[in-house]
Amino acid sequence: MAAKGKEVLSGNQAIARGAYETGCQFAAAYPGTPSTEILETIAEKYGDSIYAEWSINEKVALESAAGASYAGARSLVAMKHVGLNVAADPLMTLPYTGIVGGLVIVTADDPHMHSSQNEQDNRHYAKFAKIPMLEPSDSQEAKEFTRLAFFLSEKYDTPVLIRTTTRISHGFSVVTLEDPVSPVRELRARKENAEKWTMLPSNARKRHPVVEKRLRELRELAENIEINRIEWGSEEIGFITGGVSYMYAKEAFPDASFLKLGMSYPLPERMIKEFASRVKKLYVVEELDPFWEDEIKKMGIEVTGKEIFPRCGELDPDIVYRAVRYGDVPECGTLELKRSPDLPVRPPILCPGCPHRSMFYQLNRKKYFVTGDIGCYTLGYYKPLSAMHTTLDMGASLGHGHGMFKVLPEGERKKVVSVIGDSTFMHSGMTHLLNMAYNKTKGTIIILDNRTTAMTGQQVNPATGVTLMGEQTFEIDFKSLAESFGVKHIIETNAWDMESVSRALDEAENYDGLSVIIHKGPCALLPEYRKNYQKQPMVVDPEKCSGCKICLNVNCPSLSWVEEEGYWVDKKGNKHRRKGYVVIDQLNCTGCEVCAQSCPFDAIIFPERSE
């Protein structure tokens, strides 16, 4: 195959490239950090040969890819680690049915929870589903392993998992490009496979032994596959490791011996025994759970692992070095520990112009208990907005609400609302809404309709009106959707009119039934916002600002406090002392006016135009 030069690619871009080079024809995903760029790259660069879509959720993506695979197409699905929980149902039975076109499932784990609600270790899914998992250590491997995964999938008639972690997904390194191959399987609907694909108990019972036999064959494969390899160095210390941990251990102990596992599951028992017998001291270096360590100990091999390496957070070369040399073990392997500790923290914050701001400001002011969900709007938790009190998993806001609405006494119940983003609603909130309407719950839910999946970088969703491939499609109308689910009381707000938000909340609180508030306003990072909503930056009238700090409660990064004793003048012209005043950053204010509406003294204004 002709080499086509080199590029610096992220792990995600490299997986996309690998899919392209292997003749992949179908790719589906729901966005989720750190996996999102896989589908973005496929659509942007390889859209001519691969059909790519943002599916509604991960289960939809995997089941669709399985369909494409049954029809003979090489197919890829990608998701963040928790996405695989959503797709776990099809995942557990697909190994029974097998596939036709190679089916590759990418799970991008997030140790340290850079952008996640937990740091589950998805290697367990490979063992749970009894299928192979490959784990690359850099972008070159990410591409090669993707190609290999398609090949193994077809050879062993099974879906294959690729696991990355944030440092691999978002780490960039040099990749050698190759030409794509053409897919080989005939595309057709295979009636003759009905028995293999219809998992009635009578058929499934025949398939389980096939899964077990395949697993034995995969164990044999693991002994010989070239991505499991031994690098002999000093025999004083040996490391069994893989993924990004391999790079950290290699950086810390370049002269040691290494057994690098490219295949995370199943493990090569004979190879491990041979390696263990030749090194004096054996370590397993792996982030999160002692997954390999437990497997290796079961083989009867003595090995040091989680006694010295942390179970929480990420590793890095320092942690590996200090643990091995001095037994110096932090409870969590985290970068945070080594940042300067006494600096003011800088958590993420809603952008200037964000439509979510007005809702959270009002929810806080009106003292609601808010069952929350996942998206940019989870930032409504932070002070001073302080208007989110639960966040569990996507869709849970409505479930939490429903449960509370059903059990709380009326007075208490009326001060509880559920808040969910548009993409999250379509991912796993719609079923809840139908459940609530059908089961006659009384309460309020708020859909934050910003027309995009903002958190992960403004991916399109059915509220946007275009597909990932750039085709025009319809825009979902949440009002008619809720009506068709039997909701009788629906209110729409304008996100930049705080009065409309306040009114909607009061009205919903007083309604004796299920209310749906649709909070409308496009994400401030969308071109649509810039075109139709963005105005010139606002300024604080230095005479009128009383220094009351009320506007700072809208929590906009454009506003900041200047401590400086002085005077201000009220509407009647009287002078008063003040401790300081607020200024607005002229480089990032978008003129959304939410802060101005919060100001009791009308001190925030558009500057007069000097013509």
Binding site: H170, M247, R339, V345, W561
Partner: protein
């Protein structure tokens, strides 16, 4: 060539990823190995962000070990301090004298840190604090702050200027190329060695 470890710090949305992309392409232009590591997603919404870039003959870890950073480039003033432990004694820090108050400071609850130059001085780090965003605004667009900093950085690395030009060309849209090359040159002028 000995490995160079570059740390880029700042606030989400400031253009750190573009700067690290140019550095990655710079390595490729010079036939060197490179790894860079940064985090996307939630952190990008105005939170502190960092990118580690390592260039050399053969790079393993994408993360830079504590105390092994050769050069720190900071897009924002106080964010430089967050990563001070990662800079080696005798290293270099190129800092944009531009303040984005974090929430506690914006609310008037905390103070913006002062004495930043001194803190680096204590570690024997050569510090250059310049009003880079101002320079970018003068060139017509605050978004080229990152490329001015690249120009400053180039004075401490040994690569040919032409390879920076090629790397910038690969990383920015054609309509912004000229502005970015100007910004790069402006950065070079800002450092007198």
């Amino acid at each position: 060539m000995e490995t160079v470890n570059i740390i880029i710090s700042g606030v989400g949305g400031q253009g750190i990823i573009l700067l690290s992309n140019v550095l990655a392409n710079l390595a490729l232009e010079n036939n060197l190995d490179v790894k860079k590591s940064e985090v996307h997603g939630m952190a990008q919404r105005g939170g502190s962000v960092v990118s580690f870039v390592r260039i050399g003959e053969k790079i393993f870890s994408p993360l830079i070990p504590v105390g092994k950073g050769d050069i720190l480039v900071s897009m924002e003033l106080m964010e430089s301090l967050r990563w001070i432990e990662y800079v080696k004694n005798g290293g270099t820090a190129l800092i944009n004298d531009y303040r984005l108050p974090p929430p506690g400071v914006a609310m008037g609850i905390e103070k913006y840190p002062e004495g930043i130059e001194e803190k680096f001085g204590e570690k024997d780090v050569k510090v250059f604090v310049k009003r880079v965003t101002n320079e970018a605004v003068k060139l017509g667009n605050p978004r080229v702050t990152n490329i001015i900093l690249l120009g400053m950085l180039s004075r401490f690395l040994t690569f040919e200027v032409s390879s920076y030009y090629n790397a910038i060309r690969k990383s920015v849209k054609p309509q912004f190329l000229e502005l970015n090359l100007k910004a790069f040159e402006r950065g070079r002028e800002l450092i007198e060695l």
